[in-house]
Subunit: 333 residues, 2 copies
């Protein structure tokens, strides 16, 4: 089952079911007005949503209409908790090697980073960047959206609580990143608004590509129409269930919590490319002593997409441009 | 105007208006079913809510009933963004002095910490702590809840976006705190669920105690019935407007975002006491070389309250006990 949220002027948008080929959608308001509402009572909604999805596939869903990703918000435009992992150790290793960093990791314990969850952008919306001095960067990542998960849950229980899987661009402002890391209190200016794919899918939509709680598919990234990378999700060093269990160590997770994978990164990055500018720049530093790939500029267009085994777009594409933010004029007060 | 959220089995509860003396409440569902909904369309709701509050004061609100703080959830039981500042530099200075720490602060830039926002506890609910080895601690803090605030807003515009003010206990698990600080990616295990006062109030309820975007009132804290401290909010080194403007540097804040003050801490802590165990312990280390105040134990009861100029409880009291968390039994899978 594939779900999306369409713009309707309200902060949470309106929930629709989307066909497997992403060509058509149907309003789900009779079941749940928003994805948040559906997640809050998933046990009662899931069957009805799946039945509606089935009718949509069969062409018998009344009121079906063409699905336009430009009208999509993030599947959950805001939620109660968003945590990003850094679960591809290969990425961190490259960064530490290029810049002689030493991150005081604890063996076997994943890095988890608390993030804002009220400013998720739609897949085709211009991304407002303060200025080019921010050293904007993208990070292609997978994410899971969970139901309620009590403190102390096992990885297996956590994996069973995964309701939906999606794709996002973890936009990063590198100018602030090292200073905020050194301060130690996590990211604020380094990690503003986040951009999500138009569609979130139930794990069964991944078929054989859902392997050990990981998404064994390529994340295809283009910058300004040029191939940038297609690293695969299978090399994640912890499964999503393991990451969620770490997060739930001493806290309850509530329906709608989102956990990100961290920048997808593969050991053969020289061949498959990277999912962020920083990693490519780090590889350039390691290879030649200097980074040549430039940070994001206004007008840059980014595309992120994942194809399923049948070659169909799984989550739809994130396809957005970087634009100057509109800043309020000076305050007379 | 004073607002609260009562338990009704749903994650967002139901919105009520509470009388100034906290004795009575009236359902606000005809105006907005939840505080989230009210904040999303504050311009349209505020007048009606204030009119209802006025009728409640006059004794003419139909269906008014006694207000029971034990039935209260956090005013916003979950929201899209919660950021905690560390805006009383006195607290950080004491901690750095006691433990020979050097936090790489940037002069004039406040520390802001991204936090979970899906697990806010009600004022009288038992607090589930994993075990006593967590070295549990409380932190008494003020918070503001804002409306939409665009990126790049000035401190004055940010202060005008403050809709509500409240009080919370920023529960902290000190066992994890230094390790997470050293890692650099912020707090996860060190900062699980947060506990809020029963009532949030519009800034006008503070009267003359709302000074330069600060709350010039004592935060009175008792542990197991014993006075622990009553530091005042006026010594905050940045106003809430200034903190919000820092946070909105390169991000839009959405209605319902919560900003905390950081542990309230005064320069005459030797006289007025502290708002957390860690600060008292640090003062003991500085004075005698060793900390004697113990961390939180199961069964400890904590009380946080603020009185207004007339001696009335402004937000109602947080009055809760520390209890062992119920951990799911081992997973057969």
């Amino acid at each position: 089952m594939k779900l999306a949220t369409l713009k309707n002027g309200a902060p949470d948008g309106r929930l629709v079911v989307v066909s497997r080929d992403l060509s058509r959608a149907v309003d789900a308001a009779a079941i749940a007005p928003t994805l948040r509402a559906a997640l809050d009572r998933w046990e009662r909604c899931e069957g009805d949503l799946r039945a509606l999805a089935q009718r949509l596939e069969e062409g018998t869903a009344p009121g079906a209409f063409p699905f336009d990703p430009a009208q999509a918000m993030a599947p959950l435009p805001r939620t109660g908790q968003f945590v990003d992992a850094s679960a591809f150790l290969n990425h961190g290793n490259i960064m530490e090697r290029a810049y002689n960093l030493t991150v005081k990791k604890q063996e076997g314990v994943p890095i988890l980073i608390q993030r804002q969850s009220d400013d998720f952008r739609g897949p085709c919306d211009d991304y407002p960047m303060l200025d080019e001095e921010e050293q904007g960067d993208f990070e292609g990542e997978f994410a899971v959206i969970v139901g309620d998960l009590p403190m102390g849950s096992s990885p297996a229980a956590a994996e069973r609580a995964i309701r939906l899987v999606t794709l996002f661009n973890d936009m990063s402002m590198r100018r602030h990143l090292f200073a905020e890391l050194q301060l130690g209190f996590g990211f604020i200016k380094a990690k503003p608004a986040t951009v999500f794919a138009p569609v979130a899918v139930t794990p069964d939509e991944l078929g054989d590509a859902w392997v050990d709680g990981r998404i064994a598919l390529d994340l295809r990234i283009h910058r300004n129409g040029d191939w940038f990378g297609n690293p695969n999700g299978r090399e994640m060093d912890w499964s999503f269930g393991e990451l969620l269990a770490h997060l739930a160590h001493n806290r309850d997770l509530r329906s709608g919590a989102i956990l990100g994978s961290g920048t997808v990164s593969n050991r053969d990055a020289a061949t498959v490319g990277s999912a962020c500018l920083a990693e490519r720049r780090a590889l350039e530093v390691i290879a030649t002593g200097a980074a040549t790939t430039p940070p994001l500029r206004f007008g840059d267009r980014l595309r992120f997409e994942v194809l399923d085994a049948a070659g169909r777009s799984l989550f739809g594409a994130i396809d957005h441009a970087i634009a100057p933010a509109a800043i309020p004029s000076a305050d007379p007060a």
